[in-house]
């Protein structure tokens, strides 16, 4: 990847990162990350454990504010604006949906899980909420399985169902950016395939950053992929090129071929 | 004493016949010794203008069915007590002080009125009265402090009003003074005998006097 262009010039760029470094209690976890995530596309992030992938996501939606000892330097621009210039970080986070590795069904009903975000923003009307809940559950490919038990506890669903519930919940925020952090770790292969289909459909509407431990998943979904290794960005390359031996760095080729990691 | 766990016990009231029966049932025979006298002083807040009180007034104040509830009924207005209500301070219902006060002030057949603040210790009575302008209480003279006032007590409307003191307790002029007892399990022997002899000796009786109680008889204390 080339160096960053002036931010506002490029409206096709959803996330523009320049020289990002992250420390935990002074210990460097990630450094020298400069990359651009194109809008309305799926951007893959691969790399072995502890390579800094999750830290990268946390910097994008300012989770550093609630993580003791986490310091961020460099700049992260979301849709042209530096995330640290937001006076109300909660408003920033509402524009960014997040799916965590372990499915987290909040301890409330399935309905309330999906309606929560709208409620927090002040939607009271039951009919409006009904529409939102159904639409989001349908798009997350969960509606048919739960439509008859919307009032049962979200935390009692199976792992795969809960993960789709968290995707529905993220979609209920109506986000322009969706961050997924190794969503398939606790999900069975069939559900994984269903979620991948959902993501392919969603990319026309929003920018998706897919951090994954499965290199083949990145190959199936992402048009560009970044390779992180031990706290550094090795490269960002067109995914197909990366998998066909055209990676810029031999370590990338070795990783995608399964030689380590 | 009744349970047979001790060889000697102090009491500020006589054991009841029923209690002596219970003790005998448990295999010990309590022997009674009078070791001194105690005057029960009436305590009020130092700002209270009350100088004297009659036994009859105390009875109507503390006794069941009594009608004295307000300081104005005793002819005084107490600064800091705008409600005029008399806060009765008493003792828990099985203390010797409680039983003796009932005997001396209310008589054999009359009970205390419920609703008094029943303190757990003689000192607590004085502490509470010290801090409470509306309060009146009774407790051993030995617990008097500089921060409470002790009105004199008279018998009847015209009787002499006698201030509580060791002297008035000894000469019998103070109306609410009582004997203090020690009980031994059976005739005292050995160390118990020696201890009791010492308590009843001039030396022991002088300590009784110094602590604010009245000795059994005339003793010469330097």
């Amino acid at each position: 990847m080339s160096t960053a262009a002036p931010p506002s010039a490029d409206s096709d760029c959803a996330i523009d990162v320049v020289d990002l470094a992250i420390r935990y209690h002074g210990q460097l976890a990630l450094s020298g990350v400069t990359l651009k995530v194109p809008a309305h596309d799926i951007f893959g992030v691969i790399g072995p454990a502890n390579s800094g992938k999750t830290s990268f996501l946390r910097a994008v939606n300012r989770m550093d504010l609630m993580t003791a000892g986490m310091e961020v330097s460099g700049s992260v621009r979301v849709e042209g604006r530096d995330v640290r210039s937001w006076r109300n970080p909660y408003a920033l986070r509402r524009r960014i949906g997040v799916v965590f590795p372990l499915p987290v069904g909040l301890p409330m009903t399935i309905y309330e899980n999906v309606a929560l975000s709208s409620r927090l923003r002040g939607t009271r009307n039951k009919a409006d909420l009904d529409v939102i809940v159904e639409r989001c559950l349908r798009r997350a490919a969960l509606w048919d399985e739960v439509k008859d038990r919307l009032d049962s506890l979200g935390s009692l669903l199976s792992g795969g169902q809960q993960q789709r519930l968290t995707i529905a919940r993220a979609l209920s925020q109506d986000p322009s950016i969706l961050l997924l952090d190794e969503f398939s770790i606790a999900v069975d292969p069939v559900t994984t395939m269903r979620i991948e289909e959902v993501l392919s459909e969603l990319k026309s509407e929003m920018t998706i950053v897919l951090v994954t431990n499965l290199v083949q998943q990145a190959r199936r979904l992402a048009s560009q992929t970044a390779f992180f290794l031990t706290g550094e960005l090795v490269e960002v390359t067109e995914t197909e090129a990366m998998f066909e031996g055209a990676a810029q760095d031999p370590r990338t080729t070795a990783y995608v071929e399964g030689k380590f990691g | 004493m009744i349970n047979g766990t001790v060889d000697i016990a102090n009491s500020s009231r006589k054991m009841k016949d029923s209690e002596i029966e219970l003790a005998r049932g448990n295999g010990n025979d309590p022997i009674e010794f009078v070791v001194g006298f105690d005057a029960l002083a009436v305590y009020v807040h130092p700002d209270n203008p009350l100088d004297q009180v009659s036994l009859e007034q105390l009875a109507e104040l503390y006794g069941e069915g009594g009608d004295v509830d307000a300081w104005s009924q005793l002819g005084v207005e107490v600064p800091g007590c705008s409600s005029d209500e008399i806060v009765r301070v008493s003792r828990q219902n099985n203390s010797g002080t409680y039983v003796y006060f009932r005997e001396a002030v209310l008589g054999e057949r009359r009970d205390f009125r419920l609703g008094s603040r029943d303190m757990h210790g003689s000192k607590d009575v004085v502490d509470l009265v010290e801090n409470t302008p509306c309060a009146i209480g009774y407790s051993g003279l030995a617990y008097a402090t500089d921060h409470v006032k002790m009105p004199c007590v008279r018998k009847g409307e015209d009787g002499d009003c006698v201030s509580p003191s060791v002297e008035t307790a000894i000469d019998g002029s103070y109306p609410i003074a009582r004997p203090l007892f020690m009980y031994t399990a059976g005739e005292p022997q050995g160390a118990i005998r020696e201890y009791l002899d010492w308590v009843l000796s001039d030396e022991g009786q002088c300590i009784v006097y110094e602590k604010g109680y009245a000795p059994r008889g005339d003793v010469n204390c330097s």
Partner: protein, 314 residues
């Protein structure tokens, strides 16, 4: 024929011994509770069977056990005293302890949090007689001055004292309940753009509800059982309270004040043990209820954090 390695070695014997020892420890709790119950029941039994007048005990406020001619054993005023003091204590301690627990658990960080936790625990270490002394010597004159009432030893005084006494244990248990809510919930809700308060109010508190109810119930149990401070601060006056400024008397305080100078085996003695039986049953029921709530809370999260070994980890 036995295999050479199949013998009972030292580790096997230690394991067996320790199992027996911890079993004995567990059983001792049952033995003690049953023993205490048997003891107070036996001591109170004579009264309950021969002298006990159900109507007098529960509906008469006349507690005059040492009357010469007509001893009565009405516990209504004592029950009302305990209930009113405990009730007011909860009014004081629930907001106080929940607020403290929420602040410590959800908002405070680092040193502030650790310091506060130590301070709360220190508060729990103050002996009850010291609290009683504060009630008698500081709160009494203060209440007289502030509210212009005749005496400051009353429901208000002992309720505040008891509330402050119950607050530390309630804070600690409530904080444990908040801590038991998985961090994933907070992270998920915050990532959605919920504010700290929204996370606390909409997600954490409902999830911790059972634990919080249990904390409150244990506080109630503490209030019911507390003796010394209530004895000193309540006024210890047999009285049916009609306002927070009335002096009252608690069940526990009555036992503590009278048992020491009551002849063993007398009606009065047995009546005091009957109060003890009553207290035992009430506190037992409260603690049982708290336990049921805690269990209910645990069941709710049984499925959390499941990690099915589904898709492979490369």
């Amino acid at each position: 024929m036995t295999h050479a390695a199949d013998r009972r070695d030292l580790a096997w014997w230690i394991d067996r011994t320790m199992q027996v020892l911890v079993l004995a420890g567990g059983l001792s709790a049952i033995v003690f509770i049953a023993g205490i119950f048997l003891f107070i029941t036996r001591e109170g039994a004579g009264f309950v069977f021969d002298r006990f007048d159900f109507r007098e005990f529960f509906f008469s406020p006349r507690w005059t056990p040492t009357s010469n001619h007509n001893p009565t054993y009405g516990a209504l005023a004592l029950i009302a005293g305990t209930a009113s003091v405990t009730g007011l204590a909860m009014v004081v301690s629930v907001p106080f302890s929940l607020g403290a627990a929420i602040y410590i658990g959800e908002f405070a960080t680092g040193r502030v949090r650790e310091t506060l936790k130590v301070l709360v625990e220190l508060l729990a270490a103050i002996p009850s007689v010291v609290w009683g002394f504060i009630g008698l010597s500081i709160m009494n004159p203060l209440i007289i001055q502030v509210f212009d009432v005749p005496v400051g030893l009353n429901v208000l005084n002992s309720g505040i004292i008891l509330g402050l006494m119950a607050a530390p244990i309630m804070t600690t248990i409530a904080e444990d309940a908040l801590k038991a809510v998985p961090d994933g919930y907070r992270e998920a809700a915050e990532a959605m753009g919920a504010t700290r308060w929204q996370v606390t109010f909409k997600v954490v508190l409902p999830a911790a509800r059972n634990g919080l109810v249990a904390a409150t119930l244990l506080g109630v149990g503490r209030g019911f059982g507390e003796t010394m401070a209530v004895l000193m601060a309540s006024g210890h006056s047999v009285n049916l309270p009609t306002s927070p400024f009335d002096s009252v008397r608690a069940l526990t305080a009555t036992i503590a004040a009278e048992l020491g100078e009551t002849a063993a085996g007398s009606d009065h003695y047995q009546a005091l043990f009957t109060l003890g039986i009553f207290l035992f049953i009430v506190t037992f029921a409260i603690n049982l209820a708290a336990d049921v709530f805690v269990r209910g809370g645990r069941r709710k999260y049984r499925r959390r954090g499941r990690r099915p070994a589904a898709s492979a980890n490369p």
